[in-house]
Structures are given as C-alpha cells and as structure tokens.
C-alpha cells in the first residue's frame, strides 16, 4: 500500500523559510507597484487551449501543459483519427484546456474580455505561477512565478520613464544596490539594419549582435558573415564595437550612424527623452545604461527594450526585463492598443539576495516565545497568558504535550532551539502562586521572573 512519496520532476516544495523570503520579495514589489498606481488582477491557472495555442511559436506550443478532458474523453474522437494514432493530431480532441504558459497572453485575453469595465490607460500587475514542460535543469523549473507590471492604452514615453524608476524603487527597497538597467529600442536596431542594408536580415543581425558579450567582436562578425550579411555592411557597424561613453555621447554616436534612417532617429529620440528625463529626476541606487546589443524578445517588442543586470559582484543572468509592444491585444481582435511592461525574475532575485545576505533577519522569524508545558494546570495558566500575548500580536506557542520528566523537558527545549524560538517561559507552582512567569532567553540562558505586564513589555 504505502508508497515512498516523491515530487513531480521540475517542481519544488517550499519550506517555511523559503515561503517567508519569497513573500518578502513579492510584498516589497507589490508595495512599489501600488505606490506607482498599478492594480492587481488574477486570471485562472488554465485557459481554453485556443487562447494559448499558437501564441508562443511552435516551440512554445510544445511546452504548454495540456489538461486531459474528463470522463470518457475517447468517445469524442472519431475512428479515422483514432486509427491514425498521431499524438499531435489527437491532442486537440482529448484536451480542451491548458495551463498558463506566461502572464502576458492571459492578460491580453483579460483586457479584451473586460474592455468595457476597464479605465484606460490600464495599469495592472499580476504575480502568479506559470507552467512550462521544459527539460528541468539547474535554475529552470516547470512551475515558477512570474511577476509582471504593464500599462496598456497609451503610447506616452512617461511610462518608460516610470518603469525605470519602478525598477530602481524595487531594488533599492530590497537593498540590492548597484543594479544596471540596460535600455535599447527596437527602432534603433531596425535603423541600423536599414543603414547597413540588411533590413531583411534583422533577426540574424540582432541575434549575432546580442552575443557581443559572450563571443566578442570577431565572433559577432564571423556569425554575421555566415548569415549572409556583407563585409561592407559589417564595416559600417564598426562604431557599435567601440560604443562607450556617457548616455549623451552614445546618443550622439547613434545620431551619426543613423542619420539616414527616419526609424532609427525616432528610436534615438525616444531613448534621449527617457535618459535625459531620468538624469533630471535622478535614480536612487540603480544605473541606467544604453546598450544597443540588447535584443530580447525582438519579435515582440516595437519600442523600448529593458533588461536588468544584477550587481556585478554576483554572477547571475538578467533579473528583470521588458519593453513596449504595439499590438498586445490584436491576437484577440482588439487593435491599436499599445502596451509597455516589465517583469521581475523572482527566483533569480531570491538567489541574489541570498548570496548577498540581504534578507532582513525579521523576515523568517516566526514564533517569539514557547511556553513549556508542565501539566494540565500549568498549561491552562500558560494558555491564559498566551491568549493575551497573541491579541497583542506576539507569536506564542504552548508545547502541546506535558513534560512529565527531565527528558520530556529537554525535548521541549530542543523544539524551541530547532525552531529558533528566542524565548521560553517556564511557569510552575511558584509562578502560578505569585502570578508571574519565568522568561528564559534561549541564546544567553539568562532567566528572569516577571509579571504579565513586564513579560509583554519584553516580548513586544
């Protein structure tokens, strides 16, 4: 009968400490979202398959978890199809629902479905799990939380300004100083492709450029050549390989390079508005960098592109990213709704805070005081104090079983130590008679006998 239990591949149990630390990160982000005027929404864990399928490319479709229909699902499959025995063709006949793959497509569905109830521009945030049938590996899970903030319904660049500020606000509040917010613009990438005459190779060109950090200048050039980008075109790119200086110096270089591309200059002007505004307003602890090699989700973004890098002392990929997309809801029939949004990489932020010991001690502290249980009478006496302490917000526990001997008492003390409970209360006949409580500091071993009022004072 009994099975040795195990957990599904690529999923995680979270211990109390982990839940509390994750909650700390999420609550910090939520509080910033709120001061920025974002409102929470939640969508269901599964959607009708047609809502999700075809929205993430072929690879995405493959990675979506499908839910089997209930009941006698095979009865709805026609004989010819069944006989074919083709998994891909059978799936849509035996599965009508699928687990959410990200928060963006459900959000688009939400906006279209509720468009008459919403006030635009609509600023929403959403923190919920998503599921992907990826091969699990270190740091990659089949279930993980996404944390997104988006605004839809306005093309104003003030939103890009605000999102940079929001990143700065969140990471400052998490005491994670020194993150780099990198920014690019799809129009600049298009402009570059245009001026070097490689418009038809935009994707190949940006994918190669995106690797500059990893494979260096020569590597990038070799890859471009291999993709059919001409040597003369690559020659024109030279300024990008020595692209240093302040934001305004970089903008000047780009203006030169892109002088013949209207699109490119538009991108530069957008970047310029955002950077100069933020120079005026100032950031708290983050730095803002123009990075023309940044190309994440290029097929998707139409304007600004953001990516956040952890402080340089930590080896970690990006801990956030986002950008502007001009047609979020078009897939569901609502045209011309521009959106811009960012996301926070919760799992990676967790690892970074852990590595830098940035979780406040208070985050994972739980119970403040354990009352030792010496017997029925003593337990009642203890529970009367515990009841009052809890009303004052002091986390308190009674050890449920009676300590009938020294060994039992040791067990209760061990329980307090294992749980990192900082105080124990011992109250026997003497204390009950005097109406007092003996408080033991579990770290120092120090004991003092106190009235209830003094006890509350110490524990509050």
């Amino acid at each position: 009968m009994a099975q040795k239990p195990s957990i599904a591949k690529g999923t995680r149990d979270f211990s109390s400490e982990e839940v509390l630390k994750r909650t700390y990160i999420m609550n910090t982000i939520k509080s910033c979202f709120t001061t920025y005027g974002f409102q929470p929404i939640e969508t269901p864990s599964f959607e009708n398959s047609e809502t999700l399928m075809g929205k993430y490319g072929e690879e995405g479709d493959r990675l979506i978890f499908k839910i089997l229909n209930s009941g006698d699902y095979l009865s709805k499959v026609d004989d010819a199809l069944y006989t074919e025995r083709n998994s891909t063709k059978l799936t849509p006949r035996i599965s009508e629902k699928a687990l959410r793959y990200d928060l963006t497509v459900p959000f688009a569905r939400y906006v279209v479905q509720h468009q008459n109830e919403l006030s635009f521009p609509f600023k929403r945030y959403q923190i919920q799990p998503v599921w992907r049938a990826d091969r699990p590996q270190k740091g990659r899970f089949r279930e993980f939380f996404q944390c997104d903030a988006d605004v839809v319904g306005s093309k104003s660049l003030w939103q890009e300004v605000e999102f940079v500020q929001l990143y700065d606000a969140v990471f400052t509040k998490l005491q994670l100083n020194g993150v780099a917010i990198k920014m690019n613009n799809r129009k600049i990438l298009s402009g570059i492709a245009e001026v070097i005459g490689a418009e038809d190779k935009l994707i190949d060109f940006t994918v190669a450029l995106d690797k500059l950090d990893k494979i260096g200048e020569e590597g990038v050039k070799t890859e471009m050549l291999s993709k059919g980008i001409s040597e003369s075109a690559i020659l024109k790119l030279q300024p990008l390989f020595s692209f240093y200086g302040t934001a305004s110096e970089k903008l000047e270089q780009l203006k030169g390079l892109l002088s013949t591309s209207e699109t490119g200059l538009q991108g530069v002007s957008e970047l310029e508005f955002i950077t100069t505004t933020l120079e005026t307003i100032g950031l708290q602890t983050a730095s803002l960098e123009i990075d023309v090699t940044l190309a994440r989700g290029l097929n998707y973004y139409t304007g600004a592109i953001f990516e956040v890098a952890a402080p340089s002392e930590v080896k970690m990929g990006s801990i956030g990213g986002g950008g502007r997309y001009d047609d979020l809801t078009g897939i569901f029939g609502l045209k011309d709704v521009s959106g811009v949004g960012i996301s926070f990489g919760l799992d990676r932020i967790y690892l970074v805070l852990e590595e830098l010991s940035l979780f406040p001690d208070t985050v994972s502290s739980t119970t403040k005081v354990l009352f030792i249980n010496f017997g029925e009478k003593e337990a009642l006496y203890a529970m009367q104090a515990i009841t009052k302490l809890r009303l004052e917000g002091v986390s308190s526990e009674l050890y449920p079983d009676i300590a009938k001997n020294q060994k039992h008492l040791g067990k209760q003390i061990t329980y307090a130590n294992k749980r990192n409970i900082p105080f124990a209360v011992l109250a026997g006949d003497d204390e009950m008679e005097a109406g007092t409580y003996t408080l033991k500091n579990m770290e120092s071993g120090e004991q003092e006998t106190l009235t209830y009022e003094a006890l509350l004072e110490r524990l509050k």
Copy 2:
C-alpha cells in the same frame, strides 16, 4: 485570425477590487496563523499521479484534473491497450501528473518526504489553489483557494482548544461577529452506534443524523429505518432529538446515553476538556456549540470534528471546518502520526463579508492622487513631485498623455473619477513659477494651492 476570447468553464478572472479584498482576508488569516505559531509551506500545483490517485475515493479520482504527457505520448502505449480504446485504462499510460485536488494529501506527502528536516509537532499553514473537475454551478468552481492550518505529531487536546481560539481570532479580526463554532467527536458517534447496536451501520446512521436540520426528526427516523436500523435502536436515540441546553447539560445527557460505551465516554471526556477550558479562557466574539449531528468527513476524522456557521443573519453554508485524523501520513508509509487541522472557506467568507459590508474602505483604495498632464514641461515638474511622494508611500500617478485641450483635460478628470482617485493635482505655469501645486478634492471640488510640504501633509 482574431478570436473572441473566453475563459475556461468554472474558472474566474479576479478584478483589482476582488484581488485586494481576497488578499485582505488571506492576510488577516495569515497574521493570526503566525501569532499562533503556524509556519507557511507551499507545494507544487501538480503531483505525480500516484501521489493523488486513490486517496479521495472513486468520485475523487474522477474529479482530479490529469495532465497529458508531453511529446509523442502515444508511443508509450502498447498496441493491445490502444486497440481497446478505453479512456479509463488509457489515462495512466498517457498522463503521469495531476493537479492538486486538496492541500491535505500534498501536505501528508510533504511531511513524509521532509520528516528529517521538520521539528514535531509541526504546525503548518498553506493557502494555495486546488482544482476539481466538478460540474460548475453557482458558488462551485473548478479552481479555488483552500486555506488550511494543521498540526501533526501530537495527540494533545490543547490543539483542539487552540483551533477554536484561532477561528475566534480570525473572525473577530475580520469583524465578523457571531459565528458559531460547532463541535462533535467521532468517538461519540461511534459510541452512539455502539449503544444502539448499529455499529455496522455507522455511516448510514451518521449520514441520516447529519440531515436533522434539513429533514427533521421524522425524516431522519424514516431514513434510518430504510437503511435497516431497527425501531428499537432508533427509540434509544430519542435524547438526541431533544438535545438542548448548555454545554455541561449536553455533556451530562451524553454521559447518560453513552454510559455503556468506553469509546463514547472517551469522546465525551475530550469534548468536556475542550469546552471547559474554553469557558475558562473565554472567546472574543464566536460561540462554541456541541452538535452531535455533525459528521463531516466521518471516514477521515477520528476525534474532534469542527464546523463553523456564519452569523445567523446570513444564509450561507459552513465557512470553515476541520477535525482530528489519527493516520494522516500512513498512506505514504509513515505510521502513527496524529494530526488535527482546520480550514477556512475563502470564497464563502468573501461573500459573507460582502453581504454584511465588512470590508474596510481602505482595502480596495488604490491611487491617492492623479497629476494632470498639461505638457512636457509641466509633466516633468509633476513627476519630480510624484517621485518624492512615492518615496513617502503615497500612491501617485501622472496621466501619461498630454491634455492639449479642454476635452483632453476632461478625459483625465474622468479617468480619476472612474478609478475613484480622491485627489488631483493641477500644476501649470503659475504653480511652476511659484513652486506650488493646486490640489483638487475630487469629491467636494474644493481646490487649494500648496507648497510640496503642505501637499505631502494633505496626502499622507
């Protein structure tokens, strides 16, 4: 291309207001859990099928959502089985994972899997969604949150005492006064079946008794007769049909009725400890009632059984329930771990609070002030103030698009009104020159021109 989007049957989108109200309920419960020494854990949304299947009876197995294997799942099905074309037999070959049906079985799995890392008694709470392939109907959803607190590893009745206090603490904090916490004990039900000589009909007997509220004394008797319980047995039950009075009066009646049943008397003694202790300690706003007709989850519970009824002015089923079960983890090979736990019915609590208008106004308030956008220069001036206000925790927004004329301005004002934003700031040339802000109270229409410090004072 474009589809009219819809949501999967039995699932819900939650608007901002709904999310905020739900979060308020959950955070209130969590804060009480914490002061009672419960620690949060989280388990994955899906488990290996063998962890869940067979744990909830045949009906439960049917209602578990199964996840289709990825890739060419049919390739692993042998020909003979495929030819049979039997959905029930095919399922375990093409699906290895399933969505969590409740939080109890995953919790049992967690305890067994992590037994060496945990300190017992282990007090945990868990607030996560569960999924059931039930036919959707009013108030019944395919995805809903469960909210459970359990202690495993001790048989102490102090835990039952604490759970009654915990219910009282949570509902008092939610300002939901007058809930009735009903309590029974499986041993009393077994004892009654024993003394009337219907031990082999325990389930039939309790199922019938449980309906006393709905079908009355005669109805219950007729049902018992039809299930083969003898007339003489039913005659012995007479005291239960006029079971009134204080807790101690009820306990006396039960002692008489159960005088020949050791098990029954044990149950009475347990109930007595809990009720007399709670009489001494006192409850804040809830009442505690002994209800011998209470039989929820009988197959499961071995000791105390709890159920919470909403205040009588609200028509609503139970808003919470729980009990003691002596062998939670046996299904996974860990014997003799007694557990006791309660759960809160979040959706119903939500409906009750809504009906009685008990959600504090502050819960769903979002942005405090909208800065009107008159132009690029004015927006920068506004954003400098907004940045400072946000650092002080004041939720503030800049309308992203510029009001070029009166109609645009009206749109911004309408946006503030629709969003229930209580204040607007208007700052044009005059204000910029004087370094001031004109604050408009959106309800009264009153306006005053203020320095930044005075503005902060008003909005904080």
